[in-house]
Subunit: 582 residues, 2 copies
């Protein structure tokens, strides 16, 4: 429950006033679940994404793709979202307002997320009756809960049966396009693919600003690897690093305690099932540290079986402690196995297996099912080649067993009779293996990251606000002021500003108001350095540089400015190393 004038409120006020973010469509009364980024927020968000690429994408040579937000229904039927992406909703019989039934139980019956996730619609009815829960708005009687699909739906083109959805995650385009991506990456494995883009979830009643949005930016990495070669060579350098972990075994005991445990130990004890997932969890910790969140304000909570997404064999949420909402998810780490590729293979009939050559061929006897096209053709007509392809991808053992036992084999609803196929054991020189890669997925909510960055950098000092943004993330890198406008100081300051802009620094020139007010404005925008051109600058071509956090100043020559500033923003120099301290 909100406290008054908490950090969220203070950050939001600053965000609106200075152009980080604000609620969308304010002039029309607002629309919950949507925010707009102003000029500072847009750049901050872009820098958070750039940092994400620094930490995850570049070191592993992960391939970035960009695909569409609108998806045809088929894709999300295949992925299981059409069936699974729903929340229990309850309407008031009196005022007809609608609510998340599980949220009402959390608020009114003190149940935890873990407890409500488990409930069926019938059990929700029982709990509502047991706790005598009524409409939070009008105290009216609540109706029967039903599931509400939380994807935005639309129709694509002029035919009303061409249903489409707004994608609820960026991952599915990666799975659907896997064959293309794998080919353009010259068929290497392991292979990481990332997409950063808008996604949509039609939340029933979102109320938490940038933390729970209907339209948000997601950064999904799908990391494909051979399940027979699950080792992550990069992990070695981090294996003694510690994570704050709450595996299900602790969680089921309902303890709030996390383990502080090395990655190596977490893997040995089976708390984390794959090395790649452990590796990404460590990187996720580093990433949040780079955004300004110390290690002890982060933790990883394992999801219980019924809490996990439908595609997940193991899932950890990375949580960050926020002033208003307590522990809040910022990323999810799921072991998606071969679930998605397999589903798309089944639904599309397109082979999603990869082939890896052995060093030399292996002699082997293998059960082989060969479709007899002369039989299949007349029976399945235009579907014949699809049937043949499905048969060649299916497990021969299953086909044989089913035909022996039932006298038929059913594939995607089509009946295969014994005379349609030839089943035999053959001597084969196997040149390699065919398999569906497994996937580990780290997935980040970018808007939450932007908010977290702002909250962790927000400080008040007396009546002044300071945004201690990490220097790599500051939307404005340098503010440039003339001490006064006259006597050629403004002209010289503009010149300095142009020199720096040409070298790709993000600069702002400001000549309005007193120097004190200008410093205050820069501190509030999170600008790490301010450069002032004063009367001495006219004499010796020097300027003062002032540090946002320490308020210390040093004097340095304009000539060496570019080099010094470049080093500063690459963390090779601090203010002390940039001239003479004043």
């Amino acid at each position: 429950m909100p406290k008054k004038a908490d950090k969220y409120e203070a950050v939001s006020e600053l965000a609106r006033r200075r152009g980080f973010f604000w609620p969308s469509y304010e002039i029309y009364g607002g629309l919950s679940g949507f925010i707009s980024y102003g000029h500072l927020g847009t750049v901050l968000k872009r820098k958070v994404e750039a940092k994400f690429r620094d930490v995850f994408v570049t070191p592993l040579n992960i391939q970035e793709i960009e695909s569409s937000i609108v998806m045809p229904a088929k894709v999300l039927e295949a992925s299981g979202h059409v069936e699974a992406f729903k929340e229990p909703m309850v309407s008031c019989r009196n005022c007809e307002r609608k609510f998340r039934a599980d949220h009402l139980l959390q608020e009114k019956a003190g149940m935890t997320d873990t407890e409500t996730e488990k409930l069926s619609l019938e059990e929700i009815v029982e709990k509502i009756t047991e706790y005598e829960i009524t409409c939070p708005e009008c105290q009216g009687e609540l109706g029967t809960p039903k599931y509400f699909m939380t994807m935005f739906s639309t129709t694509i083109g002029p035919y009303s049966d061409a249903v489409g959805y707004g994608r609820p995650e960026a991952a599915q385009s990666i799975f659907v396009d896997f064959r293309r991506i794998y080919e353009t990456a010259r068929e290497r494995l392991p292979l990481g693919v990332v997409q950063i883009g808008h996604a949509l979830r039609n939340e029933i009643s979102p109320r938490q600003g940038p933390v729970r949005l209907r339209e948000f930016t997601i950064a999904d990495i799908e990391f494909f690897f051979d399940p027979n070669e699950p080792q992550c060579p990069q992990l070695k350098q981090f294996e003694n690093e510690k994570l704050h972990l709450m595996p299900t075994i602790l969680k089921q005991r309902d303890s709030e305690r996390t383990l502080e445990i090395t990655v190596r130990e977490a893997l040995q004890k089976g708390y984390i099932r794959t090395e790649w997932q452990a590796y990404f969890m460590i990187l996720a910790k580093h990433f949040l540290e780079a955004l300004g969140v110390p290690e002890d304000k982060q933790r990883f909570i394992e999801k219980l079986e019924w809490e996990r997404a439908h595609y997940s064999a193991q899932g950890y949420d990375q949580e960050v402690f926020l002033d208003r909402w307590g522990w809040t998810e910022v990323s999810g780490h799921n072991y998606r196995t071969d679930y998605d590729l397999k589903r798309h293979m089944e639904h599309s009939g397109v082979d999603m297996q990869v082939f890896r050559e052995y060093e030399k061929p292996v002699k082997t006897k293998r059960l082989v099912v060969e479709p007899i096209l002369a039989k299949i053709g007349p029976v399945f007509k235009k579907n014949a080649s699809k049937v043949a392809s499905l048969l060649s991808q299916a497990d021969p053992k299953q086909i044989e067993e089913s035909i022996l036992k039932n006298g038929e084999y059913i594939i995607q609803g089509m009946k295969i009779l014994p005379e349609y196929v030839k089943i035999s054991h053959k001597d084969i020189d196997e040149t390699g293996r065919r398999f569906i890669p497994h996937v580990v997925e780290p997935s980040f909510g970018v808007d939450r990251l932007v908010y977290v960055t702002l909250e962790y950098s927000y400080e008040r000092h007396g009546d002044r606000t300071l945004l201690k943004l990490p220097r790599e993330l500051a939307p404005i890198q340098i503010s440039i002021f003339p001490l006064v406008r006259k006597d050629g100081l403004a002209k010289k300051a503009k010149l300095v500003s142009e020199i720096l802009a040409k070298e790709d620094f993000a600069v702002e020139y400001d000549e309005a108001g007193s120097i004190g007010r200008r410093y205050a404005r820069a501190d509030e925008a999170g600008t790490p350095l301010c450069i002032t051109v004063d009367y001495q600058s006219l004499k010796d071509d020097s300027v003062t540089i002032r540090d946002r956090d320490s308020w210390k100043q040093s004097r340095t020559g304009i000539k060496t400015l570019v080099k010094s500033l470049r080093d500063y923003y690459k963390f090779k120099k601090d203010l002390e190393d940039m001239g003479e301290l004043l």
Copy 2:
């Protein structure tokens, strides 16, 4: 009509194979109007956007914002899109397929875009009958044309009456949020605001790959200025530059000829109505040149009155010549006046005027309409303050006239009687002016720009493909090869690769296949420079650099590499200046 094996086909084949772009949802049979960008395309697109910022955003200190794709119906009703965003559609009575009626007339009756834009539904029926046009798929009889709304619609949240649309342009969020943006920009004017993001148009039957998409990326600049101060100081430097222009006066004569005319002259003759629009058209020409399109393959065509968007008082399309489609729009330049802000002011009741202080107050007599709250309150109840606010924003002259003539004034459907207001002439010290800023809008389709860049850089030399991407845009800046893998060459090449990656160069290490094949792969990906580590590198720490376009090579020391390459990518050096030519 497509020719066979034209440039579009060749570019598309390369794009699919190397990971620039491909049709989305291929494994499910594809979905026209949607493409996916692979790893090279994603970076190329990002660099095209970065170049856009270099040319337009940074020099004018334009503020970038990021808002939502899903918009509530209210916004797009106010903007006029719900009414105006539609296309004539016709269905086949036999096979029930649906088509753009105007496109059929263009294809079957040889009509031009300009001609079909003008037709009413009745006139379309006449033309279909006159030219005996039937279904292009089955020759069936065509039904009665009707309008199809080309926005994607959805519902927001659990209430079925909360209609939303996918935004058809990025501009509207800028208008809706204008007050906030203007405040965070410290109320300066002129003020440019930009948004680059996905937008949606539910085309009836798109068939042109990246050139006509249902989901696309748009870059909209809304440039706000005081209509009383329409001068663009930046224009001076370009006033003698020439544009290829086809103003309506020529177009109406149905001439294909463009004028080659200086900006100054185009303004003097009234071909371009505002200086800011002329300025952005010049920048647009420079921008396309930077993407590789020479001046003589670009032109600006003025839209006739009935071709213009509903919000436009003057509109030019920038067109680029494409191999398959001929002259093709890549950007639109519209003078939107105060249309959008005014509409949002009327629909929301929120004042969108800005206030500009005079240097000193001006004594003036002014007609003033003051709402009498004691009367308005009881009549309009909870709408009373909205009525008062609307009255204070309305033109006092209009109110006075209407009341004198009709005995009432109607504002947003509400009747204002004479006794509700006090109308008088007052002596006033006017301290400034209140007005709605005017807007000039340059708007770019980013996907088309990416395609144009690829087509203009595509060359075949014998059996080799060369992508002469401008060096600033190349997704991979440098490919690094060991001559052979053994003898420590691979190790040294990897080291060079790491050094450059650390200095933020986009590098690719490649050791697979012969050097010739590796060069060919790099040429096809548009990589400007290849660095090879050979046996001499082990002796004297030098490498060879090979230029994509000239195939020339030079030898240079590893020590000076970073500096040289930085200069090369800032256009301060060419290959010749980077060591000894071989």
